[in-house]
């Protein structure tokens, strides 16, 4: 079944590079961006499946595929995928997060055809048998131990999402709960593959040195005959109830000083106020002259580090403040200072120059994200898969540039309120070791891992 391509959209992405989105009749998307500065290509396959598409009791399924997809297929024996890629000098990796999973091949330009063939093969013909699944299950449990059980920051992330979300699937970790990882059944694993690994669930992104017409022919040749899958409808349309009370969790850990992670409920990345909060995050802790950094680290010396991050999720998520206390200081003192700074910003809008500073930093970040082929492909793939249109990589830059001082004060007042936040505190083991969860509406054990889980190892 040979199918023809339809050009759906095009836009400039950076200087001298145009991205174009095509679609095959079976629903497969293809975004091309030709850049001939180096004889290499970034070939990424993005699937519209992430941890949000899992169910309680089977968390970690999407991430497990990030491992299984490098295994045996009908025409490739175990290990052959990696050997074929490495023989070219290329590299392969993958990442899973809440809204997506993607597979990355970095290849010499001359080996693009090999990459397309390999990706098409594992979309259709992955062999899911007991022995390789068990082997990868062991690897994933060790990955979880390294990133969560033995890593205080991983634990803080997981607990924050588990407490902040009561209903939405963002509440469980992308890597999955340990007991779920151990219990995922082979029939369920096979069913997940049949459901989500289909052309109408995928967008291929190719950036680099190639001929577009030849790539269109190549992809049509290898994917054109694949029937579309039946994707679950209305998946992920769960609405998290509005948070009305502050939630706090404390636990002892083998650390030197208190660590604090605060998450304020924030809008999804496509909503208008997301860009404003991105500017707020920069003003709080995104640069050496940021308000919280100066107050906590430099002037007060009550913290050794502070970081602000707004998660780029499709649905409403969190603006997160991560702080490590300085010796002799504690989380409660730091929380008090955070409250003072937020109150000041809400009461009196920042000067225009301060907002312009955050915009200048955002402009630098925007261009930095488009410097290398992998980064460019990741930006295109994320906006296409999470937000439905790769062109939003440009509109976000425009939204950031349009933020005003009044916008900043308004969103601080609207979003950064105590009743909309969740706080997780890790304390040194020989200090206060009382576990305290003061929110009786949160008694489940689910959460979310905000760290994209890569394949790791040699990558």
């Amino acid at each position: 079944m040979t199918q023809s391509w339809q050009l759906e959209a095009e836009a400039a992405v950076g200087r001298g590079v145009t991205a174009r989105r095509f679609r095959l009749g079976n629903g497969l998307g293809l975004i091309t961006a030709i850049d001939r500065r180096s004889p290499i290509v970034a070939l990424q396959t993005w699937y519209r499946v992430g941890s949000r598409h899992e169910r309680l009791g089977a968390t970690g399924m999407a991430h497990l595929f990030e491992h299984l997809m490098f295994g045996q297929t009908q025409s490739l024996p175990p290990g052959e995928f990696d050997r074929l890629v490495e023989r070219t000098g290329g590299e392969s990796n993958a990442a899973t997060w809440v809204d997506w999973t993607y597979y990355r091949l970095s290849l010499p330009a001359r080996d693009l055809a090999l990459g397309v063939k390999l990706e098409a093969e594992r979309m259709q013909h992955l062999v899911l048998e007991h022995t390789p699944v068990e082997s990868e299950r062991d690897v994933v449990t060790n990955e979880r131990r390294e990133r969560v059980e033995d890593d205080v920051d991983g634990w803080l992330d997981e607990q924050l999402m588990a407490q902040a979300f009561t209903t939405h699937p963002y509440r469980w970790p992308t890597i999955g709960w340990m007991e779920d990882i151990r219990a995922l059944s082979l029939p369920d694993i096979r069913a997940f593959y049949r459901t989500w690994y289909a052309p109408n669930s995928a967008t291929i992104v190719c950036c680099g040195d190639f001929e577009e017409a030849a790539l269109l022919d190549l992809v049509a040749l290898h994917y054109g005959a694949i029937e579309p899958g039946v994707l679950p409808s209305d998946v992920g349309r769960i609405v998290e109830p509005e948070q009305t009370r502050e939630r706090i969790v404390r636990a002892p850990k083998p650390i030197a000083t208190d660590r604090l992670l605060v998450g304020y409920k924030a809008p999804g990345q496509d909503e208008a106020d997301w860009a404003v909060l991105e500017i707020v995050a920069t003003l709080l802790a995104g640069c050496p002259s940021a308000r919280l950094y100066r107050r906590l680290v430099i002037e007060g010396e009550v913290a050794s580090s502070v970081d602000a991050q707004l998660t780029p999720f499709r649905d409403p998520s969190l603006l997160r403040l991560a702080v490590t206390a300085a010796r002799g200081h504690g989380a409660d003192e730091i929380l008090g200072i955070i409250d003072q700074e937020l109150a000041a910003m809400a009461e009196k809008p920042p000067q225009k120059a301060e907002v312009e500073k955050a915009k200048a930093l955002a402009e630098t970040d925007f261009w930095t994200s488009l410097v290398d082929l992998d980064g460019k492909a990741e930006a295109l793939g994320h906006y296409e898969t999470a937000l439905g249109d790769f062109r939003k990589v440009n509109t976000l830059a425009e939204r950031l540039a349009a933020v005003t001082v009044e916008d900043v004060a308004r969103v601080v007042r609207s979003y950064l309120r105590a009743e909309r936040r969740t706080i997780v505190i890790a304390t040194p083991e020989d200090g206060d070791d009382d576990e305290d969860d003061d929110d009786d509406e949160d008694d489940d054990t689910s959460g979310d891992d905000a760290a994209a889980a890569g394949r790791g190892g040699v990558a």
Binding site: E86, T88, I298
Partner: protein, 435 residues
């Protein structure tokens, strides 16, 4: 005066310019007992220069959407900048102030001395960083690279502001710099910028190179003068894994065996299909990752294996690693493995030099190592000329598993018996916050 080594990689594809200014010397040149001095001097220089104090310098850079960051390696200090090209001149002025006219403010000196021990705390909270810190200390007692770039609680107490000023005056001279520029900048502009960066620097010769060995500084556990295999268990509570490091002193980057050992390293632990990854992760599922590498440095440095094995298999993982290492040192890779790894390394080079910034950074690093700036970029030529016998001979010369040092950050109560049973050498248990 010969002036700085200058590397320029123009590329107009984004309106950004990166620059790296390397000041040869680095943490390996810290005076004995005053470890952390180079780091301290560089960070202090960044905290106020010319007519701007720290806050004014930060504010000015942020307003330009720019960054100026200090880096510390064993071989060099660095001042790295990123600027929108329309603001490049303004950012270069700030960098020139830091190089030529740092304030070395008294209050910032005292504040930095209070801050640095807290970086030690952060390392102790991070098992992987902690394993690396202990391994660096113990791998080859007396070696310059065994000196911690961060310092210890004791050495930090000995850092004087005047010593930082003297160090800066001695080392920040034009002849001692390697300056790289990449991005939206043409060659005439780059030449003008380099001239501005060095215009106000004092005259002075490049300082003498770092001495490789000095008597070991007293530490938390005895460090034998003669190398031999031993295990250090860094005890930390509640671990579910063991962060493992296995290694020994090997060659310098740029040694005659560099290309051959690069192939040897790839076969043993530099690819997903490498022996360590296959045996540890794929066949046994003992660790998420497992790999090895020669640390790239100007002087001979460590060849190191790493993994994070489940605590219940820490001993078997060490035993298997030593067995693999011993077999590899004795027999080396097969002909097929050499061909495969060579294809991988040659084919991967375009990815390491794909952007102007990558090319500039590699060339700056090579120059700091006193190698030709295109040494790494030309490695594929050397790789192509090697035979499997050359690689096996290099592995035999460069790998010495009998003198490997093993560091395990884990919980002694659960892991000690397993590690002792591995028969890897004399085992010493230390508390994780002793160093």
């Amino acid at each position: 005066m010969t002036g700085p080594v200058v590397i320029i990689e123009p590329s107009p594809d984004t309106p950004l310019v990166w620059f790296d200014i390397a000041i040869r010397g680095g943490a390996a040149a810290d005076p004995r007992g005053v470890e952390g001095l180079h780091r301290h001097a560089a960070l202090l220089a960044r905290r106020g220069a010319g007519r701007r104090d720290r806050a004014e310098l930060d504010e000015t850079l942020d307003n330009l959407g720019a960054a100026l960051e200090v880096g510390i390696s064993r071989d060099a200090l660095s001042l790295s900048g990123l600027a929108l090209s329309r603001h490049l001149d303004a950012v270069i002025d700030l960098a020139a102030d830091i190089l030529a006219d740092p304030r070395f403010d008294e209050a910032e000196h005292a504040r930095l001395l209070r801050e640095t021990p807290q970086v030690l705390d952060e390392i102790r909270d991070d098992d992987s960083a902690l394993a690396t810190r202990w391994f660096d200390w113990l791998c080859c007692p007396g070696h310059a690279y065994g000196r911690t770039s961060l310092g210890t609680e004791g050495s930090l107490a000995r850092i004087e502001r005047s010593a930082a000023i003297d160090l800066w005056r001695r080392e920040v001279v034009a002849d001692n710099l390697v300056i790289g520029l990449a991005g939206d900048v043409d060659e005439p502009t780059a030449a003008r910028i380099v001239a501005r960066l060095v215009a106000r620097l004092p005259a002075g010769a490049r300082p003498a190179s770092t001495t490789m060995y000095e008597p070991a500084v007293a530490g938390p556990i005895a460090t034998p003068v003669t190398p031999g295999r031993r295990v250090i268990l860094v005890d930390k509570s509640d671990r579910t894994q063991a962060q493992l490091r296995v290694g020994h002193l090997s060659i310098r980057y740029g040694d005659d065996d560099t290309a051959a050992l690069a192939i040897g390293e790839a076969v043993l632990g530099g690819m997903f299909s490498s022996r360590l990854m296959q045996e540890i992760r794929v066949k046994r599922g003992w660790s998420y990752g497992a790999g090895c590498a020669l640390r790239r440095s100007r002087l001979p440095h460590w060849f190191e294996v790493w993994m994070a094995a489940g605590i219940e298999v820490a001993g078997p993982a060490i035993a298997l690693t030593l067995e693999l290492l011993a077999d590899y040192a004795a027999n080396g890779p097969t002909d097929d493995e050499v061909d495969f790894a060579r294809d991988y390394l040659v084919g991967s080079m375009p990815f390491h030099v794909a952007t102007a910034r990558q090319r500039m950074q590699l060339a700056v690093r090579d120059a700091v190592f006193d190698l030709p700036p295109d040494y790494t970029a030309k490695l594929p030529v050397a790789l192509a000329a090697l035979t499997p016998a050359d690689v096996r001979a290099a592995c035999a010369r460069c790998l010495s598993p009998a003198s490997a040092v093993i560091v395990a950050v884990t919980t002694a109560e659960q892991a000690q018996a397993s590690l002792e049973a591995a028969g890897a050498g004399t085992l010493t248990v230390v508390d994780h916050d002793e160093y």
